[in-house]
């Protein structure tokens, strides 16, 4: 028999096991507020640090890209979550429909956020706004050649359009707004025509589409507005500056309904253990100070009126006409939009 001692290894594993089980972090007893977030923590960090500084309330956070609503639902009255943060209207509406949200009862918040970016029933609020715009190649697309989402269906764009998956929430929201404005039949005809014009199978994220324009794979691309700022100022990966510099920004439908808007938003849960602190945090996030940080750090549009926009946004995105259609109604078409994407084989 070979003599091979496995003792050291087993010991390491055993110590690890014990330590892991006893290292359960204890919830602090100080004033705190707990966030379940669908937005990445690093985007929120500067704001949460400023909040802690100001109020001495601790902020705890869990970030995940899915499943948090289900977690709140199953945790029921014992859920530790006070606030649900999202990067899209969809999950807010979803949580509302499952009766997981409380009414946000704050005159201050109502004054800070325009009605267009708030739920009619007061269960959720927008924190930042973004527009889904069209990036066009500086070299290959002349000014005035296209001016609306509808124009993308024109056969002159055949083989020239890039976009991420039709199933991504940003595109579902855009398709939802087409359904809301034009009805399902016209929206589907439009989507089918856009699909026929795609330069490649939908893939990658919004930045990757601008990159594809830079590389000549396509001439126009759909993308959220703030990515432009993020690319133009990217010192760690300077090639992204070249991508941004190769495109013009087009805010569509300025002659009629305006460019499609979406929000990142927040809500207070129905069983929030710290509802007061949660309200304080939302009041802070809609304050001038926080709204300015949002605009500067992530190049999103503040929802609060009168907040100075970052210089970069002013230079490139100036003033534009935003679609003021009810976001609740747009979100209600989400499932229909997803099925439409399947039917026209948009992602195939």
């Amino acid at each position: 028999m070979p003599v091979v001692s496995t003792k050291p290894l087993s010991t390491v594993f055993a110590i690890g096991a014990l330590a892991a089980l006893t290292a359960i972090p204890q919830a602090s007893l100080a004033d705190e507020v707990n966030i379940y977030s669908y937005r990445q923590e690093f985007l929120l960090r500067p704001l949460l640090d400023a909040f802690k500084e100001k109020t001495d309330i601790d902020v705890n956070i869990i970030y995940a890209s899915k499943g948090l609503i289900e977690r709140i639902e199953n945790e029921g009255r014992n859920t530790p979550a006070d606030i649900l943060l999202t990067s899209d209207i969809g999950p807010l509406q979803d949580a509302k429909e499952r009766n997981l949200l409380a009414k946000i009862d704050s005159a201050e918040i109502n004054a800070n956020v325009p009605a267009q970016y708030r739920d009619d029933d007061g269960t959720w609020i927008g924190l930042t706004a973004r527009s889904r715009i069209i990036y066009t190649s500086k070299e290959r697309v002349a000014e005035g050649e296209l001016s609306s989402y509808e124009d993308l269906a024109d056969s002159k764009w055949a083989g020239r359009i890039c976009t991420r998956s039709g199933k991504h929430s940003y595109n579902l929201s855009l398709i939802g707004s087409m359904i809301e404005h034009k009805g399902e039949a016209q929206a589907e005809a439009w989507l089918e025509a856009v699909k026929a014009n795609l330069a490649r199978k939908p893939q990658g994220n919004d930045r990757a589409q601008v990159k594809a324009v830079k590389e000549g794979q396509c001439d126009v691309a759909l993308g959220n507005s703030y990515y432009f700022g993020a690319m133009l100022t990217n010192d760690k990966e300077p090639e992204q500056k070249e991508w941004a510099n190769s495109v013009n920004l087009l805010f569509p439908n300025q002659a009629d309904r305006g460019a499609h808007m979406n929000i990142s938003g927040a809500a207070i849960t129905a069983n929030a253990p710290n509802p007061e602190s949660a309200k304080t945090l939302l009041e802070f996030l809609t304050s001038e100070e926080a709204q300015r940080i949002y605009a500067e750090v992530n190049y999103e549009f503040p929802v609060r009126e009168g907040v100075a926009r970052s210089a970069l946004i002013n230079d490139y995105m100036g003033q534009f006409k935003a679609d003021v259609v009810s976001l609740t109604r747009v979100a209600a078409h989400r499932s229909a939009a997803a099925k439409m994407v399947d039917r026209v084989g948009f992602d195939n």
Binding site: M1, P2, V4, T6, L9, V12, F13, A14, G16, A17, A19, A20, L21, A23, I24, P25, A27, N34, Q40, E41, F42, N60, I61, I62, Y63, A64, S65, K66, G67, L68, E70, R71, N74, E75, G76, N78, T79, D94, K167, S169, L172, P202, Q203, G204, N205, R207, E215, G216, Q217, K236, E237, E239, S335, A338, K339, D342, R343, G345, D347, N348
Partner: protein
């Protein structure tokens, strides 16, 4: 002596008699483990009965054919490639002598430490239009746009097959190699004496004997391919797991998502059943002669070169190249290492993964041993098979399956405590590291069991008989006879679950407590935004921490045979 023979009546009788003394304890324990592990799987099946609308007419009339076709092609591609790489390299390093053999023995396991989503990002970076490879070619040949030449698209089904195979073949390699190592040298010598060539001996003796182990490896590869979402999503391949997430998140129909997931599990059951049926009742046990020194074929000249190339390719493309890329990306982000959270994340990953490795191995051992003592309990055997299905579920779906029973337990206990004692116990299990640990165990039980069961099955029942007739009880027999004999399988189980847990992402994200990060979740924050470079230091650490046990354990496995 090693024998290949139909199930011996003496064996089942012996074991049955041996088991009769304390059947109830082990049976109860086996059932307890099985039920515990099946709970989250059952929760998913339960969800499948509550869809918000019937999604099938829509699916069948639109994308279902696409989902099914891509999934089958993925399975076929990844299965074939992993089988070829895994078995050929395992056989060569185990039974041949050639330059670098000792290094390849453990190096061939290294790609396993690299998460599939990371390798997908890296190769896309290298091979896409703007990447160095295509840019270089354009410069070299004076092409200016994509229309001037054709280059295979990395973001495709073929690309996904390559990426998944590169990191999954080690499952097959590991199990095939353990099996080749444990095979009796006498039987091979006998076949050679009887006139078989080395190749014939491989195909007619070694391969059939190793088949159960290889099948286990292949089943693991298939399940991992089915549950993968990160890679296929990044490569825009519409597989069934894409359909699951679409129904859940975009159509707000978790029930329909659970239906697709349940269907996937049924496929796995069918696959495993087919494999087992075709293998019929052949069983092999090995005796003490496995410790006889292995005589290797000495390869020279062209054959040696071929063997070296065969083994270097997967190591180069599956490990060295991605590692080098990660390393050079990390140079731009060295500041991350000085972040104190980074150390915390690394330690969370390490502790959780170690705990999961041990916990899962214990569950797997209890299940396997309770079945060995009661081979005629069909119910228990069936439950044990069901308990393996957690591996076929996409991680996020499994996480919901864990949340449901845990939260139900917590809330029921809390209500009862409030009513009876006016005390609120709140959430005891939900949102703790234990929930993550449990999810890892459910997810990776199939991995752990695969290795432990096949080792245990090779221990001849005469060992049980001897031990029991000498007065040892069933627990002593397990401790003093079986554990030492199946040490290789046990270590393999620990190693694989440890590394798999280090890489696990979707379930960890959803189940974790507040302010709790592992390396994988920290990496994901950046990767989800396609900030691949910022994700490099964390990814590099996952890989580095992962390779330490890989090397250590691989050496131990080798030592079980070589030290004589």
């Amino acid at each position: 002596m090693q024998t290949v023979e139909p199930q011996l009546t003496t064996q089942s009788q012996a074991v049955r008699t041996a088991g009769l003394r304390l059947p109830s304890n082990w049976t109860t324990l086996g059932w307890l483990v099985a039920v515990l592990v099946i709970l989250p799987i059952a929760a998913v099946v339960w969800l499948a009965f509550n869809p918000s609308e019937n999604i099938w007419p829509h699916l069948i009339s639109s994308v279902l054919p696409v989902y099914v076709e891509s999934t089958l092609l993925l399975l076929l591609g990844v299965g074939t490639l992993s089988l070829f790489i895994g078995v050929s390299t395992a056989w060569v390093v185990t039974l041949c002598n050639f330059p670098g053999r000792k290094v390849f023995e453990w190096a061939l396991l290294l790609p396993f430490a690299i998460p599939a989503y990371v390798i997908a990002y890296i190769y896309t970076d290298l091979l896409e239009y703007a990447g160095p490879v295509q840019s270089g070619l354009r410069e070299l040949f004076g092409w200016s746009t994509a229309r001037d030449y054709s280059f295979p698209e990395i973001r495709s089904l073929g690309g996904a097959v390559l990426m998944l195979s590169l990191v999954l073949y080690p499952y097959v390699y590991l199990l095939a190699r353990s099996s080749f190592l444990e095979q009796s040298i006498n039987i091979r010598d006998a076949s050679r004496t009887l006139g078989c060539s080395a190749w014939q001996s491989f195909f007619r003796i070694s391969l059939p004997i190793a088949r159960p182990a290889i099948a286990v490896g292949l089943a693991l590869v298939a399940m991992e391919t089915l549950n993968d979402f990160g890679t296929v999503d990044f490569f825009a391949v519409k597989s069934l797991s894409a359909g699951i997430y679409d129904a859940w998140l975009n159509m707000s129909n978790l029930g329909a998502a659970a239906q697709i997931a349940t269907l996937m599990m049924l496929f796995v059951v069918l696959f495993i059943w087919l494999e087992r049926t075709s293998r019929a009742k052949a069983k092999q046990f090995s005796g003490a002669d496995r410790f006889k020194r292995l005589e290797r074929y000495n390869l020279t000249g062209g054959k040696a070169v071929a063997a070296t190339l065969l083994c270097s390719a997967p190591v180069l493309f599956g490990f060295l190249l991605p590692l080098g890329e990660l390393g050079s990306m990390t140079l731009n982000h060295l500041d991350q290492f000085s972040d104190s959270r980074f150390l915390q994340q690394a330690s969370n990953s390490f502790l959780l993964s170690s705990a999961a490795a041990i916990f899962t191995a214990i569950l797997a051992l209890l299940l396997a041993y309770s079945q060995r003592l009661n081979p005629n309990l069909a119910g228990l055997r069936f439950a044990a098979k069901l308990a393996h299905l957690g591996y076929a579920l996409p991680g996020a779906v499994l996480a919901i399956g864990v949340i449901i029973p845990f939260a139900a337990f917590d809330n029921t206990l809390d209500s009862w405590m409030r009513d009876t004692f006016d005390i609120s116990t709140g959430l005891l299990l939900s949102g703790t590291p234990f929930a993550i640990l449990f999810a890892y165990s459910v997810r990776f039980l199939a991995v752990s069991s695969g290795s432990i069961e096949s080792s245990l099955a090779k221990v001849t029942p005469s060992m049980d008989m001897a031990s029991r007739s000498l007065g040892a009880n069933s627990f002593d027999t397990l401790k003093r006879v079986h554990l030492p004999l199946i040490r290789t399988g046990l270590l393999t189980a620990l190693l694989v679950v440890f590394v798999d847990s280090m890489k696990e992402l979707p379930a960890t994200l959803i189940l974790r407590p507040f302010n709790f990060d592992t390396l994988a979740t920290a990496v994901y924050q950046f990767a989800s935004d396609e900030k691949i470079e910022a994700a490099a230091p964390g990814s590099l650490l996952i890989v580095l921490v992962g390779i330490i046990p890989v090397i250590l354990l691989s050496r131990t496995i080798t030592a079980t045979r070589d030290a004589s």
